[in-house]
């Protein structure tokens, strides 16, 4: 039980100190779990982080689940995961309760006109970063462009596109492996 509480609070701290999630959490995990508590080793964290990026779900959540599971199995996974999301729930709920009245202020409304443009640029920058890692040949470039086109023109459920991507990967990716042999 003490282990589970330890995990919860360690990840609560990580969740509260991580700005932006994902990659931003690595230095905090390092300070909290590697240097201070000696729970895991650096190489392990990088392995878990790499897997967490490829599996579905929020990267910070996946990493917390992985480390929690390695420490205390399933209950550990749950404790660590709840810990890492609890600060978000607290902070965002507080902000959300005042947000509507906040948005009624004319000045804030003007501010968000500019902020929205920044959000477009942030998403574009995120897509560029993902593209650098995933568009490794002609097939992946075509898959990327076709998925943008289909989503923009017909906007089907993104689930369909992800499943279709997996099927294309199994067909073309496997062929590639065989060609190598």
């Amino acid at each position: 039980m003490k282990n589970l509480l330890d995990l919860f609070f360690a990840f609560f701290k990580i969740g509260a100190l991580t700005f932006g999630g994902g990659y931003a959490m690595l230095p905090i995990i390092q300070a909290e779990l590697i240097n201070k508590r000696g729970w895991i080793e650096e190489g392990e964290v990088l392995d878990y982080y790499a897997i967490s990026q490829t599996t579905p779900g929020i990267i910070a959540v996946n990493t917390a689940t992985f480390i929690g599971y390695k420490k205390v199995k399933i209950l550990g996974a749950i404790a660590a995961t709840l810990g890492v999301v609890a600060p978000s729930i607290l902070i965002i709920t507080l902000i959300a309760t005042v947000f509507d009245s906040f948005m009624d202020i004319a000045l804030v409304e003007k501010a968000f006109l500019g902020i929205r443009i920044v959000v477009v640029a942030l998403i574009a920058s995120g897509v560029v970063a993902l593209s650098k890692k995933s568009l490794i040949d002609l097939t992946t470039k075509i898959l990327f462009l076709v998925s943008i086109l289909i989503m923009t023109i017909w906007s089907p459920s993104p689930v369909i596109i992800i499943v279709a991507g997996a099927i294309c990967g199994l067909i073309f990716g496997r062929k590639k492996e065989e060609a190598k042999k």
Partner: protein, 187 residues
């Protein structure tokens, strides 16, 4: 179905299929808006901005916010629980077969195809966010809400922000504050 349960299941779906982290949830959140009209597309962009500039993972923050705006405090909590349940299931399975998972040819082949389309659907979400942020919807319908030079100026600002983000690699909150100042004093 009960609204709070519906939130749980819809966010469960997002947790199970959004590959690529926080931004990857945006196309799924847009789908929810088209389907249920719980909030508007403008609200979503505001939510993303706040999720990026507060502590915690962006995807979890956005889920809490959308859940809260849809069904209050419990809506926020159930949305997050829905989002993280698939992670727990998937990671616990992957942890068992960790070494096999990393090297399995089928898994690698599937992700060879998933990664580019995951980037693609985020790109498409970016386009629909851009249409709202730049005020392009009216332009396309031949009924612009503001003069064309104002729209072009916003697009130009977007390009400048993108350049600054790529060049200086500072945290998102820096650019969001900058965007707020531009909104207040220039737009």
């Amino acid at each position: 179905m009960n609204l709070i349960l519906l939130l749980y299941f819809e966010f469960f779906k997002i947790g199970a299929f959004a590959v690529g982290g926080g931004l990857a949830t945006i196309p799924f959140l847009e789908e929810l808006i088209d389907k249920y009209h719980w909030i508007t597309h403008e609200d979503l962009i505001n939510i993303i901005a706040i999720a990026e500039s507060t502590p915690g993972a962006v995807g979890v923050n956005a889920a809490t916010f959308m859940g809260y705006q849809t069904a209050g405090i419990f809506g926020g909590i159930l949305a997050v629980l829905g989002l993280i349940t698939p992670s727990i299931i998937i990671i616990v399975i992957v942890a068992q077969i960790f070494h096999k998972f990393k090297t399995n040819a089928y898994v690698q082949a599937a992700f060879y195809g998933i990664r580019p389309v995951a980037a693609g659907i985020i790109g498409a979400a970016g386009i629909s966010v851009a249409i709202i942020a730049f005020g392009l919807k009216g332009v396309f319908l031949g009924n612009p809400i503001e003069p064309i030079y104002a729209t072009l100026f916003k697009v130009l600002l977007g390009v400048v922000f993108f350049y600054l983000i790529e060049k200086f690699k500072k945290h998102a909150v820096v650019y969001i504050i900058l965007g707020a100042l531009v909104g207040i004093f220039i737009l």
